[in-house]
């Protein structure tokens, strides 16, 4: 997005504040992630509470690892971690002034995000085919709510990253540092989404 006349005068949009060492955007994204921690923290706490109250978990008997598809989820974990690496490479390419490399790595990040969602889609439809819905019991309620909300965060990441890869790149020609900062902020968010999954995977599928 081209620089807006209104932000022209805002200090520390690009250059870091001398005391905090951060530009505004990076500070803002860290605060946003703090609120996200509280959001997922509340959901994880609810999971703990409902699970410890239940006489059996999962309520239908058996083990979580037998009900949910561990191999597919393991693959998805690998996909997300890889996408975090490509995200870092995209940012590093900006730092090195290589916008062509940035396009390659950012494109890979977005592609891997889609791979994650497609695998998730197969997991979900498999559950639906076996008549397992959120209403079946609280195990599925938590599974679908937590992974669903995480999936929405993945979609949010795809939107932001696609913006940066397409029309967002125009900023590169005007202000390289500003654009690089934006990629870094998107990356921080993306690593957080990755991190949430790294908590979700063992606590839903394995424990």
């Amino acid at each position: 997005m081209s620089a807006h006349p209104a932000d022209a005068a805002i200090p520390h949009t690009v250059e870091p504040h001398p005391v905090t060492g951060l530009p505004n955007g990076k500070f803002g994204i860290w605060l946003f992630l703090a609120s996200e921690v509280m959001l997922f923290g509340a959901l994880f706490s609810s999971y703990v509470l409902i699970r410890t109250q239940a006489p059996h978990w999962p309520p239908e008997g058996g083990l979580s690892s037998e009900i949910l598809n561990v191999p597919l989820a393991t693959l998805n974990t690998a996909v997300l971690i890889t996408s975090s690496i490509t995200m870092v490479l995209a940012w590093a390419s900006c730092k090195l002034g290589r916008i062509d490399r940035f396009r390659l790595w950012m494109g890979s990040t977005i592609a891997l995000s889609f791979v994650f969602l497609i695998i998730k889609y197969f997991e979900y439809t498999d559950k639906f085919h076996h008549e397992h819905f959120p209403k079946t019991n609280n195990f599925y309620a938590i599974y679908f709510t937590l992974t669903g909300l995480h999936g929405l965060h993945v979609i949010g990441g795809i939107v932001v990253n696609t913006f940066l890869l397409t029309i967002g790149t125009r900023l590169w020609k005007i202000d390289r540092d500003h654009f690089t900062n934006r990629v870094e902020n998107a990356g921080l968010y993306w690593h957080f989404v990755d991190l949430v999954w790294i908590f979700l995977f063992p606590s839903l599928y394995l424990l």
Partner: protein
């Protein structure tokens, strides 16, 4: 909502003087504006309209409490057969009015006015910034707030009417309530999103955009209060968002997050999986809603600090103590939430813990109040309209705070829980407390926003009538509560102990309607003052940075970037010819 047309007047003039900016089209300048001042006014006007609407709901509800089962003349007919069959209020409609009153006043009235309006308008000016750190994000917060608020009101048109499970939306009732509850949840998600984006913006702005020389210990107390408030909004709201998502799942996908096993409704077993916990909702809700209480009161204290320092013409007593107390209050507000839940059977260990933390949190509140009272001592007080509201705030907040102590102690709470005593207690904090502070703020900063001074005589009439009526509303509630009268009763006269205090209900209701009339001078004054001649710059002879900018400030705020030379409240310095020494004045 006619916010866009109304505030057009408020910011008129001054814009043309904006230095060098090319003219923006009307919709960019006044509707989808990124200027913190326009957004502040948008928030302010919208919140005042919502506040008045929420008050109107209570004016209606008070008819049923004063004259149970009697038809309401004229208005009763207009509201239709569903809400008021034959002019008599239906119990379902009564519940909607109660639930929506609380929701509207807290989430769509006071928070947007205290944080969205005053925070947005005043904070960047008081720290000498050209705008908020993220102007477009600021615009998005407003445009998440307005649809959220309108969606909330649209609930009244849903089948079965608006949400009717109380403003706390406790399950299982809320899980099985009519469609209005789903709309309530969706609207809350929008309102929460708006608050989150706003709070990020405030924190970054206050940390990163302070003018040269403006250290943290030179910030006006109002900015400190907004800073702590923003952290509360940032960290306390997401758990309610999580809870709202789970309740939405319960309602739309038939999950059982908040539904226990074996629930029977009207003699029929509820066909759900069960295994959930209604208490879980209460924990998540109050984890937000208790910090929310401090979101309501801290900005109000900030306004009071500004007005008191300015009108006593001396520095605030215990400025650092005030700041430390506000920060401590912020921390403690996260660990007191379950004092709302002593009656849920969560166990004595939990109750003891939360009783203790509740007693601890009352200490910084009293410290803050004491600092304000000490600030009055020895001052040559100017009883301007803002100062009248600020002085009234002190005893009103004190009554509200002190009556909270018996509710924080488990033994006395068992008796008082869910009675009118509770209603009296928290309304003293937020109505003659916070809302009076907000009025003080409106009268105090009106010359900044419009360049015009409000009529002081009308202001005094507004103050005295409001002050008398509002005490007529809330003071009798303590008696009713101590007589054991439960809140949320559709007809209190079905009980003998309710009939004993029914005459007080008549007094309260007439005070409510009197309070509405007392707002007429304010509403007239608010609009008529726009036609006043231009007031002098800095009409209150204040020291803080917002008065370094022209009134109303142009886009970009300051003609030259301000530099700060001293503490915020340098009034009546010995040996100076004038009794105020602005932060931005260069000479020694």
């Amino acid at each position: 909502m006619s916010a866009s047309t109304t505030h057009g007047h408020a910011t008129h003039g001054g814009h043309d003087a904006a230095h060098g900016h090319h003219e923006l089209p009307f919709w960019r300048k006044y509707i989808f504006s990124v200027d913190h001042k326009v957004i502040g006014v948008q928030y302010g006007v919208t919140a005042l309209v919502f506040l008045f609407f929420g008050f109107t709901l209570m004016m209606l509800l008070r008819w049923q409490l004063a004259y149970p089962g009697q038809p309401l003349p004229v208005v009763g007919k207009l509201l239709g057969e569903n809400a008021m069959p034959g002019g008599v209020m239906a119990p379902e409609f009564y519940n909607q009015l109660g639930a929506m009153h609380g929701t509207i006043m807290v989430f769509m009235g006071i928070v947007p006015l205290a944080v969205g309006a005053f925070g947005n308008y005043v904070v960047p000016l008081q720290i000498g910034a050209p705008d908020m750190a993220f102007p477009r994000l600021n615009m998005v917060s407003y445009w998440a707030f307005l649809p959220g608020g309108l969606l909330m009101l649209a609930g009244f048109f849903a089948p079965g009417g608006a949400a009717n499970s109380g403003w706390t939306s406790y399950p299982p009732l809320s899980d099985i309530a009519t469609t209005g509850q789903t709309i309530w949840l969706l609207a809350m998600v929008l309102l929460i999103t708006s608050s989150l984006l706003g709070s990020i913006n405030f924190i970054v702005t206050i940390v990163q955009l302070r003018a040269k020389g403006l250290t943290f210990w030179r910030l006006p107390f109002f900015v400190h209060a907004q800073f702590v408030t923003s952290f509360l909004l940032l960290l306390a709201f997401p758990p309610l968002e999580a809870a709202a998502v789970m309740q939405l799942m319960d309602r739309l996908a038939a999950t059982s997050f908040f539904l226990p096993s074996g629930l029977v409704i009207s003699g029929e077993p509820l066909r759900v999986a069960g295994g959930g916990s209604p208490l879980l909702w209460q924990h998540l809700f109050w984890f937000l809603a208790h910090p929310e209480v401090y979101v309501l009161i801290l900005p109000a204290m900030g306004i009071i600090a500004e007005v008191i320092a300015n009108n006593t013409r001396k520095p605030l007593w215990g400025y650092r103590l005030l700041v430390y107390s506000a920060i401590f209050l912020g921390f403690m507000s996260f660990v007191v939430w379950a004092h709302h839940m002593f009656m849920t059977g969560m166990g004595t260990t939990m109750s003891t813990f939360f009783q203790t933390t509740t007693m601890i949190i009352s200490i910084p509140s009293v410290v803050i109040l004491t600092c304000f009272i000490m600030s009055l001592y020895g001052g040559a007080i100017r009883y301007t309209v803002p100062m009248l509201f600020a002085t009234a705030f002190l005893p009103m907040f004190a009554i509200g705070g002190l009556t909270g102590l018996p509710l924080g102690l488990t033994a006395s709470d068992i008796y008082l829980h869910d009675t009118f005593y509770v209603i009296g207690h928290f309304h003293y904090v937020v109505a003659p407390g916070t809302i009076f502070a907000l009025f003080a703020g409106i009268y105090y900063w009106y010359p900044k926003v419009t360049g015009k001074q409000m009529n002081q005589t009308l202001g005094k009439i507004h103050f005295w009538l409001s002050f008398i009526c509002i005490n007529g509303v809330f003071m009798p509630m303590f008696w009713q509560g101590m007589a054991g009268l439960s809140r949320r009763l559709y007809d209190p006269t079905i009980y003998a102990h309710g009939r004993a205090v029914q005459s007080l209900n008549v007094l309260i209701s007439w005070s409510v309607w009197g309070l509405a009339i007392a707002q007429l001078p304010f509403i007239w004054n608010f609009f008529a003052s726009l036609r006043h001649p231009k007031a002098v710059e800095n009409p209150w002879q204040a020291t803080t940075l917002e008065w370094a900018a022209p009134s109303p400030p142009p886009h970009g705020n300051f003609v030259t970037p301000p530099v700060v030379y001293r503490d915020p409240y340098e009034y009546s310095e010995p040996g100076r010819s004038s009794d105020f020494h602005p932060q931005f004045a260069r000479e020694a």
